[in-house]
Point group: C2
Chain length 383, copies 2
């Protein structure tokens, strides 16, 4: 990876094309590739057709960025569309079909009202088993949270520490959707979305874009100095049964286990080698489950690491240092690329000063599609 870029996340005025262009141009500039055109453009986005009325977005982006005739492709796997687009880019470079790939993740969700946005997002769930019974992602997360609390004795107050940490980090990230700290009391007193989860347990819908540039070995050496490049050590991609009710467990997402084992296997490293983690915390309970599924925490004990400060920026295993989905925001298709961008900055030593993890050399990103059924895990190291 030779370049990264990202817009502010939030409820923004810019169009989806303007957001995607801004992130892409920053990434190409960062890669010193503004005059070396990427030969492929991959756009990860969940549903621009319905959120914005614009279809065929990958070709439009090649046009708007002045990259015609480079081949352009859109990739979609629900909210993990960004990471899946990244994987598609890795495959293009890895196969020799491309030497320089621009991967953009983008979503513009605020052009429709919140009810319509929820209805669009709900299409990623099972119609037969979930949607027709009024299921929503938050309802499924609440079900999971209740079961986790029952099985492991997690208290509601303890769970609130997860968004408190997210907001503490987000407050120090100038691109985050939410840049304010919250207290446990504030989390507990915010409106209930799906009992036991309150508003502050749930990520927002956001607008935003992020981009990365992937280069072959030869191309990398032509572009930037080696000490600014970050290598993809491993990547894993796994699915789970579409409907939550068909799965063996409510308190573990097996696709995360499968994808992370594949990524660790390819990378030849273990969880002990990871210095900084980006885990998909669309709901507070997911950060704890993710920590256990990727091998960072023992079953049922993730909260102990949160309480002891181990997952803080200055702790031994920092998680979601830039605010996570909860505070950085969650423009769905952009999130997977934003996670990678933030890990790249950490590994380069370019994170915002208060968020920089000291001597970070190896990082991991974990992006969830659907409600926990399409995961991509990637592992990165300084080149």
């Amino acid at each position: 990876m030779v370049g990264v870029g990202m817009t502010k996340f939030g409820r923004l005025e810019e169009s989806i094309v303007e957001l995607a262009c801004a992130a892409a141009l920053e990434a190409m500039g960062d890669a010193e590739a503004l005059e070396t055109h990427p030969d492929r453009v991959i756009v990860g986005t969940q549903n621009p057709d319905e959120f914005t009325g614009i279809g065929h977005l990958s070709t439009l982006m090649a046009d708007q960025l002045g990259l015609v005739p480079s081949g352009a492709t859109r990739v979609e796997t629900g909210p993990s569309s960004g990471a899946s687009a990244f994987e598609a880019g890795v495959a293009l470079v890895g196969s020799g079909l491309s030497d320089l790939v621009l991967v953009i993740g983008v979503e513009k969700m605020s052009e429709v009202d919140r009810g319509r946005a929820s209805a669009i997002l709900a299409k990623m769930m099972s119609n037969e088993n979930e949607i027709r019974y009024g299921g929503t992602p938050a309802a499924l997360a609440a079900l999971v949270a209740r079961r986790y609390m029952h099985d492991y004795g997690l208290t509601r107050e303890q769970l609130a520490l997860v968004p408190v940490k997210a907001h503490r980090n987000g407050a120090r990230n100038p691109l985050a959707h939410f840049q304010k700290e919250v207290t446990v009391e504030r989390v507990l007193q915010s409106p209930i979305v799906a009992d036991p989860l309150t508003l502050y347990d749930c990520c927002p819908t956001s607008d935003g874009a992020a981009a990365v540039v992937l280069a072959s070995e030869a191309m990398m050496n032509d572009l930037i100095s080696r000490d600014r490049a970050v290598r993809v050590l491993g990547i894993g991609h796994a699915t789970d049964f579409h409907a939550v009710q068909h799965r063996l467990s409510l308190t573990s997402l097996s696709a995360t286990v499968q994808a992370s084992q594949a990524a660790f296997g390819m990378a030849g490293v273990t969880p002990d080698d990871i210095d900084v983690w980006e885990l998909h915390d669309a709901f507070s309970i997911l950060e704890l489950i993710d920590m256990e599924d990727v091998g960072l925490a023992e079953r049922g004990r993730a909260i102990e690491m949160v309480m002891s400060g181990e997952t803080e920026v200055g702790g031994s295993s920092p998680v979601n240092t830039t605010g996570g989905l909860k505070a950085r925001g969650h423009p769905t298709g952009a999130t997977g690329i934003a996670q990678i961008r933030d890990i790249v900055l950490q590994l380069r030593g370019d994170a915002p000063p208060e968020l920089q993890v000291e001597e970070a050399e190896t990082g991991l990103t974990h992006n969830i599609g659907g409600f926990g059924n399409n995961m991509v895990v990637s592992i990165f190291r300084c080149a």
Copy 2:
């Protein structure tokens, strides 16, 4: 490529999931891989969210096919979604990220009425330059046809020979949407869609699915006998300016030129080496332009090859032997994979008897996204 499958195309009762499953299972059976699970599933589809209300289709397909936890990804580039999905699968195998990839192309367009279907499809055009002025794909094709007729002296009666050939082939293809022959008179007397194009110059909207299985060299040898495998010799992918008015020519689609030159370069063959062609004839005029852009015909002279019978099944350069988009039908995301499936059958000698090209060893597919701005060209040969 070790296996192919396809459903009937047409206005069908089956759901999008049923169609995709049927094509996929046939392809896996053809690959003798029903017990050797593909480790990746790629689904090429233009807009299932709006055509059917079902989102996140790639994960749903992994679930419904019993392929969990294999990684699953959707790829979209408008009507070339099938071929772009195929390219993504080639990249996964080529990079070593996967040993066995199932690629499905599918669209179910008949659940919405024709007006709504047209509105959904129109999102692939330029909002600023085309949609807001009432532009439609057929209107753009008519513009192109008028210019071509002006520049090269093509007559309306000559142009009608293209759908006549398509329907002649489709009548002999049991899976084609339209299985009846038409005459020049019938084409000319059918309702005008966009002058000078009539109903029979335009492909239908269809339901249907097709699938192929891609294997690494090692995996191929474990599955089927080498004489049933077909090799991907080359693949090219190129874009053009999003809006037709921004392009240098109306009578050539430069993304076809770029993509086919890339594919021929990778394959190390020339147009003279191609024994059978699948060209994207969403409108009759496009078949002529495609023939010229891929290097099969000289500029302005494609119609001579049609008139002389060279592009018939028994001719020297058979084009769209199974009916093309016009008669086989055009379930948009499925078309690119159906083209590849039909070429594979030709190269194996397994095409329908009256459509089999004798001693076909090398074939080419050409799939268009948008109105001529996202092309994928692939070249195949017996392994």
